[in-house]
């Protein structure tokens, strides 16, 4: 499926796709940033309570970025539902304080389930189902 890069202020381009998260309960429709540079899928920690997940019961995981610091995240199993793509999968993701984003879809496991072709010069990107290795 072909998506358009979203522009919030007229200069930046962000590959956002809609999804619903499900655990004990489900989230509303959310924007997910497709980010091939992120090892894991990172979920805004504020979403945990809406999903019925108690973060203090989840295993802790250190998160690092380009800076020198680290942050603690909480690993939990979540189902990712992509209605546009008629596909869902369940995998572990990391809840963390990411104040400027709701969902960051990273290598584990978004890019295991989907192939993504970025064509920023055309303002579009395409997401298709990947063939999973058995």
């Amino acid at each position: 499926m072909k998506y358009t890069f979203q522009t919030f202020n007229g200069t930046e381009r962000r590959p956002l796709i809609p999804l619903v998260l499900r655990a004990v309960s489900a989230s509303p429709l959310l924007d997910g940033l497709v980010d091939s540079g992120s090892d894991d899928t990172i979920l805004n920690a504020e979403l945990a309570s809406a999903l019925g997940i108690s973060l203090n019961k989840c295993p802790r995981v250190p998160l690092g970025g380009i800076g020198s610091g680290q942050q603690i995240g909480y690993r939990a199993e979540v189902t990712f539902v992509f209605e546009d793509l008629k596909y869902e999968y369940t995998s572990e993701a990391v809840f963390a304080a990411i104040p400027h984003f709701s969902v960051i879809l990273g290598q584990n496991d978004f890019f295991q389930h989907f192939n993504v072709l970025f064509e920023a010069s055309k303002g579009t990107f395409t997401v298709t189902r990947a063939k999973l290795k058995s």
Partner: protein, 69 residues
């Protein structure tokens, strides 16, 4: 040699200063801001779940590279 020029988008901003860093509910066609709040829970109470997509509005003055500092 051909020179590459990247056209900047002319999309007018839907967001104003009050939306930066907040949870925002957009219409599912992304053309209207339905509501906004500081927390996810507050926004859900305000606008519900039907016909909206929840997003967060990054600061347009910041170039993001997902550092966890």
């Amino acid at each position: 040699m051909k020179k590459g020029v990247v056209k900047k988008s002319s999309t007018a901003s839907m967001f104003t200063r009050k939306h930066i860093g907040k949870w925002v509910a957009l219409s599912t066609d992304r053309t209207k801001v339905v509501g906004y709040a500081t927390t996810f829970d507050a926004l859900e109470k305000k606008v519900g779940r039907d016909g909206v997509i929840y997003t967060k509005v990054p600061d347009p003055k910041v170039s993001y590279c997902f550092s966890f500092v």
